[in-house]
Symmetry: C2
């Protein structure tokens, strides 16, 4: 793509290795422009690679001037990236055609470079260390703490006391709250042999980790390992089905498969066990600078899985008013197969 | 305004007392519709007042059907609230005219009800208690902690260990980092008699608090009181100017004044002291469900200050590469004058 405009922080970071919350990035042929205000221009000049930094108190006006000068006729943009008000101001007096290309930046970021994969691997390692610290805390102090308190502790442990940013607000849910895939933490307290679900991730060099563990609250042996012994037999039964579904996709997914086929690898196991209607979301999503990228691993996606794609495999079963189980890892396609990050 | 459409969570909450992150709210004459998906419809039915809840897996399609049926000709919307892609999908096959009214929800929320003011007062009290706890922590453990670690502690104390949501990501900045109004926390460590700036707030019943304290890092007596004794004389001098500027606006602002006049009340003091060029932002902003609402208190605003408006008064002086001072309170106009919340 020769000419395009970007506003999204991660999309801009991908282009030039620097970003901030007030930027218009223009690629006009071989020239790149990083338009920002005085708060960020000094750092932009130091860090933004292969881009001319334009300091401006009116970013839209500066962008219009630059676009007009180049006389380019067509400029690609992502309509998900633009507020209507911004779009109307920017395009008001320009003769350039704005061509809507949904998600074009995310699409080109679906296949990662080896360098990106190393960063994502490190992010996952930090995330796993956070889960370990949280497990240690729950083992020692977890009994009778509310979801809200555990949610706060999840932030503390995952971020390593603020050292790392989080990929997203963690989910901490006990028993029937875990039956809601996007549960908000409540005052519900953790009791012996409850089921607890934690979905959390951290950022390392701006790249996200993403992982979900479901565990039995046996305080003497509490851990977030994949092998779990639940006191409650139904917990164990559902857990075993979900885990089997996840392992099936991890073992059998291949480069060259359609994403829908990877989805089927988890869904078939759950459906055959009789719980298909309770697996209410897709099998996974790409992970990178954004927590939700491409490929989308669902039943409708014709996207072909490629080497160096990074995505989650996260089947789940949610029994309303009872409990839910989700098991999630972020994986990379390497040598044609799945490798867990 | 008879007919309008809202997407923003806080705007929707203001209408009906309930909100979620996937909603289209329609006011069509005397009928109100809360369109959402299956994750939220049960709670919406319980909590959304005076609105018909429509459960849908395709919110845009459901909105189109409802709008078409009513045959209304003009529908108001906020173009800041709509992504271009959403706008285009929604309006594609509708005959209704969409009338852009920027910020119409925020504008009507500028003057608070007494009930809202009580909630905002409570939010401010919780915020102040958080600052006290943070001060206590710094007094005991603060020496040699980095901005990042202090930033994490600010989250812990302000949120009361996760009990309250924060209004925004707190700012914790030491010496020259405090010279950046929107500093990000670094590995810089707090040393004896450094200057430390903390800008933080919490949410209570979804309403925000907002406060900034600048303090001298004398660990024996550390506090976030307004009366501060700085070891460094230049710190003290600048602090005294900013505090005088803030007090001037608190004492003299009146209902019936233009917002620009309130801005002048702080700016004049700073300008007369010779630091006008280092007061690089406006005097304040409205506070409510959103952390930035109306009125905007800057040099250009002709808005008339009204009884029951709630806004910040937050002058600052930022000396590049040296340090910065900001002092901020959230206030309400009561009986024609300023009352600090």
């Amino acid at each position: 793509m020769k000419n395009y405009i970007l506003l999204n922080e991660n999309a801009v970071y991908y282009e030039c290795g620097f970003s901030c919350d007030n930027v218009i990035y223009l690629k006009l042929g071989s020239e790149n422009y990083y338009i920002t205000d005085a708060r960020y221009s000094t750092e932009a000049k130091e860090y933004a690679k292969n881009a001319m930094v334009v300091e401006s108190s009116d970013l839209i006006k500066s962008a219009q001037e630059i676009i007009s000068k180049t006389k380019i006729k067509k400029l690609n943009f992502d309509p998900n990236d633009f507020k209507l008000s911004f779009y109307e101001k920017l395009t008001a007096d320009l003769k350039t055609d704005f061509i809507a290309k949904e998600n074009f930046s995310k699409l080109k970021r679906a296949v990662k470079t080896d360098k990106e994969i190393e960063i994502l691997r490190k992010a996952s390692q930090i995330g796993k260390a956070g889960f370990k610290q949280l497990a240690k805390y729950i083992k020692k102090n977890g009994y009778n703490l509310s979801e809200k308190q555990l949610h706060f502790k999840a932030i503390e442990k995952m971020s390593n006391f603020g050292k790392y940013e989080l990929s997203f607000d963690p989910i901490v849910a006990i028993n029937e709250n875990a039956a809601k895939p996007h549960a908000l933490p409540t005052n519900k307290k953790l009791k012996l042999n409850n089921l607890i679900l934690v979905d959390a991730g951290v950022k390392y060099k701006r790249y996200c980790s993403d992982r979900t563990c479901t565990a039995n609250a046996n305080f003497e042996k509490f851990n977030f390992n994949r092998e779990q012994k639940f006191k409650n037999k139904k917990h164990q039964k559902i857990y075993d089905v979900v885990y089997k579904a996840q392992l099936n996709a991890i073992e059998k997914a291949r480069v060259g498969m359609k994403a829908s086929k990877v989805d089927q690898l988890t869904r078939d196991i759950i459906t055959k066990a009789g719980f298909g209607e309770y697996f209410v979301h897709s099998t996974g999503h790409g992970v990178g600078l954004d927590i939700h990228e491409f490929p989308t691993i669902n039943s409708k996606s014709d996207v072909i899985i490629e080497e160096n794609m990074v995505f989650t495999i996260e089947p789940g079963i949610y029994l309303p008013d009872e409990f839910g189980v989700r098991i999630e890892d972020t994986v990379v396609m390497k040598n044609g197969r799945v490798e867990i990050l």
